[in-house]
């Protein structure tokens, strides 16, 4: 398949089942909201080495915002509800409760499975915390030095999909990074997905395992241009000198498909000889996203 002059490899991305939660963060202004969301979703690129995978899903309008203030919707993914709950409480406690003027709300109110949030964080109030039920939802008001930290009692958790991806191979590093930037911007406009790596782009794509026993993953040598001549089989296009991977986590299969499609459509063009995808031979992941199918 050729798209805007770019070859679309006949391969697939392999993705996994994960649990996710959606946390809505609000603050006095857009800058503080962004700061809070950035801190909350920091150090959350890959479950290989982080407690969660996280990112900003979207900015919400005043009407969508639970309290009418500038708001961000964030998604947090983990392998189990238990692991996710631990990461959530730690991150919210250290990065949201500490951040000036923030409030935290559940973005999955319909979900039956719940994770404690304010239920745990309230104890920081040392007995001065107060609960407040508005509508059918319980919030905690924890007294802090700039007023009150308002946090929802629990947040919903649901089944999501993590590990959707595309690999963009560029003639030059600039061409590849520009294409990756376009792809991430296109994905950012879609609901229900995040790109958890820095700027949404991965330069250190990984393969499973390593020659060093302590490591679970190691560099994806098949796509490293500087060792093209040393590896048994390079996967790089002959005209490419650089590759970037866009990893996508989403709330369901449809959102991953839509994001991969948007990424490929935005990235394809001059300077990008091929768009590929990463997989493990179909043996590890439950979900396979064939590039040709998502672009059909």
């Amino acid at each position: 398949m050729i798209l805007h002059g770019t070859e679309i490899a006949d391969t697939y991305a392999e993705a996994f089942r994960m649990r996710f939660t959606r946390v809505i963060v609000t603050a006095r202004d857009a800058a503080w909201t962004a700061t809070a969301a950035q801190e909350f979703t920091g150090y959350a690129t890959s479950i290989i080495g982080c407690d969660a995978e996280a990112g900003v899903e979207s900015r919400l309008s005043a009407e969508e915002s639970p309290d009418g203030r500038p708001a961000c919707s964030t998604l947090l993914f983990g392998f189990s509800a238990e692991a996710l709950g631990k990461a959530l409480a730690n991150r919210a406690g250290q990065c949201l409760m500490t951040c000036a003027t923030t409030s935290v709300f559940d973005g999955l109110p319909e979900a039956e499975e719940r994770l404690p949030l304010g239920k745990h964080l309230r104890f920081f109030g040392d007995g001065f915390q107060q609960s407040k039920i508005v509508g059918a939802r319980r919030y905690w008001r924890v007294p802090v030095m700039d007023g009150e930290f308002l946090v929802e009692d629990t947040v919903g958790v649901a089944k999501g999909v993590a590990g959707g991806n595309v690999i963009l191979e560029g003639v030059t590093q600039d061409a590849a990074l520009d294409a990756a930037t376009r792809a991430v911007e296109a994905i950012a406009r879609l609901p229900g997905v995040i790109t958890p790596f820095p700027g949404g782009v991965v330069r250190s794509g990984s393969k499973v395992g390593s020659r060093y026993k302590a490591l679970r993953a190691s560099t994806n040598d098949a796509y490293c241009p500087s060792i093209r001549g040393r590896v048994a089989r390079s996967e790089l296009h002959p005209d490419a000198s650089c590759a970037y991977e866009i990893v996508i986590d989403g709330v369901d299969e449809a959102s991953i498909s839509a994001a991969m499609r948007a990424a490929a459509l935005a990235a394809a063009g001059p300077g990008i000889p091929r768009i590929s995808a990463g997989n493990y031979g179909g043996k590890l992941g439950k979900f396979l996203f064939h590039l040709h199918e998502v672009l059909r």
Partner: protein, 276 residues
Amino acid sequence: MSGWSLTWKGRSPPDGWVDGSPIRPDLLGKAAIADVRAARIRVGAGERRLDDLYDVVPLENTGEDAFLRVDGSARYLGLGRGMERGVLEVIGDGGEHVGAGLRGGEIRVTGSAGEGAGAEMESGLLRIAGSAGAGLGGPVPGKTRGMRGGEIFVGGSAGTEAGLALRRGLIAIAGDAGPLAGHWMRAGTILVGSGKLSQPGLGLRRGTIIALGGAAVPPGYARNGPVHPVWLRLVARRLRGAHFDAMAQRLAQGNAFESWSGDLLSLGRGEILIPA
């Protein structure tokens, strides 16, 4: 998506008190017309068929799963008592104890309500376009625990002891409220739109009284100073609708409130908020 309209025969209610507790959309809204007409209702010391009192007319396309529209009267007792779902629309006054023990659904009263409206409510929405009498959302006589959940919106004023022994839920009054609002309140929120509250929150253990028209704060309260409670913005979102838009706007703007903690003669974990 259908229901029933119950209009007084002869355009006026009967003499004597009418037990409104069988008038519930969850009981009658989907019943066959013969069953609706044959339903029993107490009037004074006796019992009558529903169609002795009302003209029963089917309604189409009400947009609700279970819907009942009924003529109002100040002589009802316990209209919609214990209702669990559906919509009960009262054209006129709701009488005494309208919506008492409400467990779900919505009651809309286009007129006013007497004493004990929403008493011991557990969930759902009671909307009174006019005013409400004493003991709004309080306990029924002889009991000690008031409303346990749900929301009451009063477009006019409320009588004495609004939110008496309130345990949970929201009571919003667009107008003023009589003395002793939030008396012995356990938790929950009372919002009063205008008029200076007299003796609010006596014996308040937890919960919040928001007095937009000011309040004579009782001696058992300690001043905290100005605060900007974000959670009031959430309350503002619940208030959208008739009579409450201006009030919602005041809460949503993030204005400062004078905060008072109390009643320190009781548990002391409640608060009174007054616009600064």
